[in-house]
C-alpha cells in the first residue's frame, strides 16, 4: 500500500480487501460508523413498525407476539448495534488524531473488534426468521420470561451477546492502551481533549461490566439447557437475581452510552462559542464521579421488585447524588456559551439541543429516582419517554452533531449548511412530537411494551406516532446529507474547518491523510 489506500479505481478486489484486512484506525472508524448507521436504520424500521401499530387502538398491522419481538429487537439493535458502535467509530477516528498517535495501540485487534459485529448482528437478526420467533422478552430480558418461557431462539441471542461483548472488551482495551501509551510528548492527562477523557472512562466501564453481562447470559444458558436453578426459586435460586446481575451491567451501560456524547458536546460547544471549555478539570472529575456512581445505583431500576425499605432508600439517595456531577457538566456547558461569540452552525444546533433535551431527560430521571413516586411511573410510557430523551436527544443528537462537525475533516468536503439546519429542525421537532406526549401517556397510566391500549390513550399515541415518522424521515435526510457531502460537497482543504476549533485534529490537512503523525507531534 505504498501509494495509499486502495480506491475503487484499483478494482473491486483491492478495494474490498482494503476494508476487510485493514489495520488503519480511520478505515476501521469509518466501518464502525457505516455499520452503526445501517443498524440505526434497521432499529429505526423496527420502531416504525411499533409506532405504526400504536397509531390507533386495536390490532391493525401485526400480531402481539411480533410486536413483542419488535420492541425487544428495537432496544437491542439500537443499544448494542447503533449507539455503542457509533461512538466506538468516533473513538477510532478521533482519539489517535486528538492525542497525536499514528494509530490505535493494537491495530489488528482493532479490526477484529469491528468484524465480530456483523457476525453477531447477523445471528441476532436471523432469530426473527426462526421457528417460534425472535427474542420477545424486552431488551432487558428478565428471567423467567427469557429462560423458562423464552422461544428457542434465545440461545442464538445469548451467543450473539457473548461475541458482541468480546468485541466491546477488545475495543475498550485498545482504547485504554492507546490513551495510556500513545499520547504525543507534552500531551499530559489533564491536557487531553474531553472527548478522549470521556472515552477512556467509558472504556473502563465497558471492561468492568461487559463480563458481568456475559455472566448473566451464561447463567441463562445454564438454566435453559443444563438444569441449573440460578433464576428458579424451586431450586433455591431467584428471578430477582437476574435483575441484580443485569442492572449491575445495565446501569453503567447507560453511562457507557452517554459519556462519549458528553465528550462530543464538550468539543463542539467551545468551538462555536469561541471560548475554551469552562471548568475543564471539573468536567474530568465530574465524568469520573458519574462513572463511579454508576456502579452503586443499579437497583433503582427495581424499586417495585420487593426490596427491603433500607435498599429502596439507599438506592434512591445514591441515584439522586448523580445529579450533582451531571449538573456540574450542564452548568459548565452553559457557562462556556456565556458571553461567547456564538454562531449556530448545524453541529452547534445539535449540541445546544442536546444540552436542553438531555437536561430535561435528566430531570425526569430525577423524578423516577424517587422510590415512592416510581411505584406509579414504573414500566409506564413515562419511563420510555425519559430514556428516549437521554438516549435519542442525548446520544443520537450528539452523534449527529459529531458527524457534521468532523465530516469535513474525514472527507475533505463541506456539507450544505442549509440542508444541515433543515435536518436539525426536522429532527428536533419530530423528536419532541414523538416523545413529549409519551410523558403524558405514562403519567396517565399507559404501560410500556403493550401492543394495544385503552381508548383514553388514543390521541397522544397518534401524535407520538406522527412525530416518530417525522423523526424517522429526519434520519433519511441525514443519510442523504452525508452521501451528498461525500459525493458533491464543496471541497475544503484548510486544516481548521471551524474558526474556533482547537486541538491536534485541526492541525492535520483535510481530509486527514491516511497515515497521520508517523512522527509524534509536539504538543504544548
Amino acid at each position: 500500500m505504498a501509494h495509499g489506500p486502495a480506491t475503487l479505481a484499483d478494482g473491486w478486489r483491492a478495494y474490498i480487501s482494503r476494508w476487510v484486512f485493514t489495520t488503519n484506525h480511520k478505515d476501521i472508524g469509518t466501518l464502525y460508523l457505516w455499520f452503526s448507521f445501517a443498524m440505526f436504520l434497521m432499529g429505526g424500521a423496527f420502531a416504525m413498525v411499533i409506532r405504526a401499530e400504536l397509531f390507533q387502538p386495536g390490532m391493525q398491522l401485526i400480531r402481539p407476539e411480533f410486536f413483542n419481538q419488535m420492541t425487544t429487537m428495537h432496544g437491542l439493535v439500537m443499544v448494542f448495534g447503533a449507539i455503542m458502535p457509533a461512538f466506538v467509530g468516533l473513538a477510532n477516528w478521533m482519539i489517535p488524531l486528538m492525542i497525536g498517535a499514528p494509530d490505535m495501540a493494537l491495530p489488528r485487534m482493532n479490526n477484529l473488534s469491528f468484524w465480530i459485529l456483523p457476525f453477531a448482528f447477523a445471528i441476532l437478526t436471523s432469530t426473527l426468521f426462526m421457528e417460534g420467533g425472535g427474542p420477545n422478552f424486552g431488551w432487558t430480558f428478565y428471567a423467567p420470561l427469557s429462560t423458562t418461557y423464552a422461544p428457542e431462539s434465545v440461545n442464538f441471542f445469548i451467543f450473539a451477546i457473548h461475541i458482541m461483548g468480546a468485541s466491546s472488551i477488545m475495543g475498550s482495551i485498545n482504547i485504554i492502551a492507546t490513551v495510556m501509551n500513545m499520547r504525543a510528548p507534552g500531551m499530559t492527562y489533564m491536557k487531553m481533549p474531553l472527548f478522549v477523557w470521556t472515552w477512556v472512562i467509558t472504556a473502563f466501564l465497558l471492561v468492568a461490566v461487559m463480563p458481568v453481562l456475559a455472566g448473566a447470559v451464561t447463567m441463562m444458558l445454564m438454566d435453559i439447557n443444563f438444569g441449573t436453578s440460578f433464576f428458579d426459586a424451586a431450586g433455591g435460586g431467584d428471578p430477582v437475581l437476574f435483575q441484580h446481575v443485569f442492572w449491575f451491567f445495565g446501569h453503567p451501560e447507560v453511562y457507557i452510552i452517554i459519556l462519549p456524547a458528553f465528550g462530543v458536546v464538550s468539543q463542539i460547544i467551545p468551538t462555536f462559542s469561541r471560548k475554551p471549555l469552562f471548568g475543564y478539570s471539573s468536567m474530568v472529575y465530574a465524568t469520573a464521579a458519574i462513572a463511579f456512581l454508576s456502579f452503586v445505583v443499579w437497583a433503582h431500576h427495581m424499586f417495585t421488585v420487593g426490596m427491603p425499605i433500607a435498599g429502596e432508600l439507599y438506592f434512591m439517595y445514591a441515584t439522586m447524588l448523580i445529579a450533582v456531577p451531571t449538573g456540574v457538566k450542564v452548568f459548565n456547558w452553559i457557562t462556556t456559551m456565556y458571553k461567547g461569540s456564538l454562531t449556530f452552525e448545524t453541529p452547534m444546533l445539535f449540541s445546544i439541543a442536546f444540552v436542553i433535551l438531555f437536561t430535561f431527560g435528566g430531570f425526569t430521571g430525577l423524578m423516577l429516582s424517587i422510590a415512592a413516586a416510581d411505584m406509579q411511573y414504573h414500566d409506564t410510557y413515562f419511563v420510555v419517554a425519559h430514556f428516549h430523551y437521554v438516549m435519542v436527544a442525548g446520544a443520537v443528537f450528539s452523534g449527529t452533531a459529531a458527524i457534521y462537525y468532523w465530516l469535513p475533516k474525514w472527507c475533505g468536503k463541506m456539507y450544505n449548511e442549509t440542508m444541515g439546519q433543515v435536518q436539525f429542525w426536522v429532527a428536533f421537532i419530530g423528536f419532541n412530537i414523538a416523545f413529549m406526549p409519551q410523558h403524558f401517556l405514562g403519567l396517565a397510566g399507559m404501560p410500556r411494551r403493550y401492543a394495544d391500549y385503552g381508548l383514553q390513550f388514543a390521541d397522544w399515541n397518534m401524535v407520538s406516532s406522527i412525530g416518530a415518522f417525522i423523526y424517522g424521515g429526519a434520519q433519511i435526510m441525514l443519510l442523504y446529507n452525508v452521501i451528498a457531502t461525500i459525493r458533491n460537497g464543496k471541497p475544503t482543504t484548510e486544516e481548521k474547518t471551524w474558526e474556533g476549533a482547537e486541538g491536534l485534529e485541526w492541525t492535520v490537512p483535510s481530509p486527514a491523510p491516511y497515515h497521520t503523525f508517523e512522527k509524534p507531534p509536539e504538543f504544548k
Binding site: 480487501s17 482494503r18 476487510v20 484486512f21 489495520t23 497525536g100 498517535a101 495501540a105 493494537l106 489488528r108 479490526n111 477484529l112 468484524w115 457476525f119 453477531a120 447477523a122 445471528i123 428457542e152 442464538f156 451467543f159 450473539a160 461475541i163 475498550s172 482495551i173 485504554i176 492502551a177 501509551n181 500513545m182 499520547r183 504525543a184 471492561v207 461490566v209 463480563p211 458481568v212 456475559a214 455472566g215 448473566a216 451464561t218 447463567m219 435453559i224 443444563f226 438444569g227 441449573t228 436453578s229 440460578f230 426459586a233 424451586a234 431450586g235 433455591g236 435460586g237 431467584d238 437475581l241 441484580h244 420487593g306 427491603p308 433500607a310 497515515h515 508517523e518 512522527k519 509524534p520
Partner: protein, 313 residues
C-alpha cells in the same frame, strides 16, 4: 506518553477477519448445538479459531524475534494483558456476587426468615408468607441439602437436593479432603512460577525451565484432581448441576475456575516450549510474564473460592 521517535504500524492482516468468522461460526454453532443437537458448525468454528490463534500468536512472536516490536508496542501488550485480566476479575465477580446474593439474601427469603432490618431479626411478613404459601417446609440452610421444590412437593419435585455437600469434613478427615490438596497444589504452583521467574531474571536457564515445567505439571495435576472430584460428586454424592442452587453455584464457580486453569496451563506450556527454544531473556520475557500474571490471578480466584465454596458453610 510516547517516547519513541517513530511507530510500528502493522501491515494489513487477514487474521482478524478469519478470527471473526471462526467466532461467528462458534457462536451460531453453539446455539444450534443446544437447540437441535448437531455440533458440526461449532466444531468447524473451533477448528478455525485454533488454527488462526496459533498463526496470530506465531506472527506476534516472530515480529518480536525480528525486533519489530519496539518498547512502546510492548507496553501496549502489557496494558492489554492487565486489562484483560481485570475483565476476567469482573466475570468472576458476577458469579461470586450471585453466590453471595443467593446464600445470604435469597436463602433466608425462601426459608421465611429474612430479617426486617439490619438490627432487628424479626422476619418480614412477606418472607413468612413466601415460605408458608410457596415453599412450605423449606428451612434456611447452607449448604441446602433439600431444595425448596423438594420441601414443598416431595418426590414430585424437579430439583432434588444433593446427598452430600463438598463442605469441610472436620479436622479428623482433613488429610483426605481433596479441596485442601488442590489448594496446596495451586499455591505451590504459584510459588514455582515465581521461582522460575527469578531464575529467568538471573539468567539461570536451568532454574527457569525446570521450575516452569514443574508449574505446568502442578497445573495438570490440579485439573486431573478436579475432574476426579466432579466424577465423585456425580457418582457418589448425588451432587449434579440439577441438584438445586448448591450444585448450580458449586459447578459453575469451580467449573469456570477450572476452565481458566486450563487456559493458564496452556499459556504456561507455551511459555515452557518457548523457553526451551530460547525465546526469553532477562530483558525480553513478556510472553512468560503474561502467562505468570494470569496464573497468579487464577490462583487468587481459587483461594477465594476455597473459602467461600468449600470452607465456610
Amino acid at each position: 506518553m510516547s517516547t519513541e521517535s517513530s511507530y510500528y504500524v502493522p501491515e494489513q492482516s487477514k487474521l482478524p477477519i478469519i478470527t471473526a468468522t471462526g467466532m461467528g461460526l462458534m457462536a451460531y454453532g453453539a446455539a444450534s448445538w443446544v437447540v437441535s443437537g448437531g455440533s458440526m458448525i461449532f466444531t468447524a468454528g473451533l477448528a478455525i479459531m485454533a488454527v488462526v490463534m496459533f498463526k496470530w500468536w506465531s506472527l506476534v512472536i516472530d515480529e518480536n524475534m525480528r525486533g519489530l516490536a519496539n518498547d512502546q508496542l510492548k507496553r501496549s501488550y502489557v496494558l492489554g494483558m492487565l486489562w484483560f485480566i481485570f475483565s476476567e476479575v469482573m466475570f468472576f465477580a458476577a458469579f461470586f456476587g450471585a453466590l453471595f446474593y443467593l446464600r445470604v439474601i435469597v436463602n433466608s427469603w425462601l426459608g421465611g426468615d429474612a430479617a426486617i432490618g439490619l438490627f432487628d431479626d424479626t422476619p418480614t411478613d412477606a418472607a413468612v408468607a413466601n415460605n408458608a404459601l410457596l415453599w412450605p417446609g423449606y428451612e434456611t440452610a447452607w449448604p441446602p441439602m433439600v431444595t425448596p421444590d423438594e420441601a414443598a412437593n416431595g418426590a414430585n419435585a424437579t430439583f432434588i437436593g444433593p446427598d452430600e455437600a463438598m463442605s469441610f469434613p472436620g479436622w479428623a478427615k482433613l488429610l483426605g479432603w481433596l479441596p485442601l490438596w488442590n489448594t496446596v497444589i495451586l499455591i505451590t504452583s504459584s510459588v514455582t512460577v515465581h521461582i522460575a521467574h527469578t531464575g529467568l531474571k538471573n539468567n539461570n536457564r536451568k532454574q527457569f525451565i525446570g521450575w516452569l515445567a514443574l508449574s505446568v505439571l502442578l497445573g495438570m495435576i490440579f485439573l486431573v484432581l478436579q475432574v476426579e472430584e466432579y466424577v465423585h460428586a456425580y457418582q457418589h454424592m448425588g451432587l449434579t448441576l440439577e441438584s438445586g442452587i448448591y450444585g448450580t453455584t458449586f459447578f459453575l464457580l469451580t467449573g469456570f475456575h477450572g476452565a481458566h486453569v486450563t487456559l493458564g496451563t496452556v499459556m504456561l506450556l507455551i511459555a515452557l516450549i518457548r523457553a526451551i527454544k530460547g525465546h526469553f531473556s532477562n530483558e525480553d520475557q513478556f510472553g512468560f510474564e503474561a502467562a505468570s500474571w494470569y496464573w497468579h490471578f487464577v490462583d487468587v480466584v481459587w483461594i477465594i473460592l476455597f473459602f467461600v465454596v468449600y470452607v465456610f458453610d
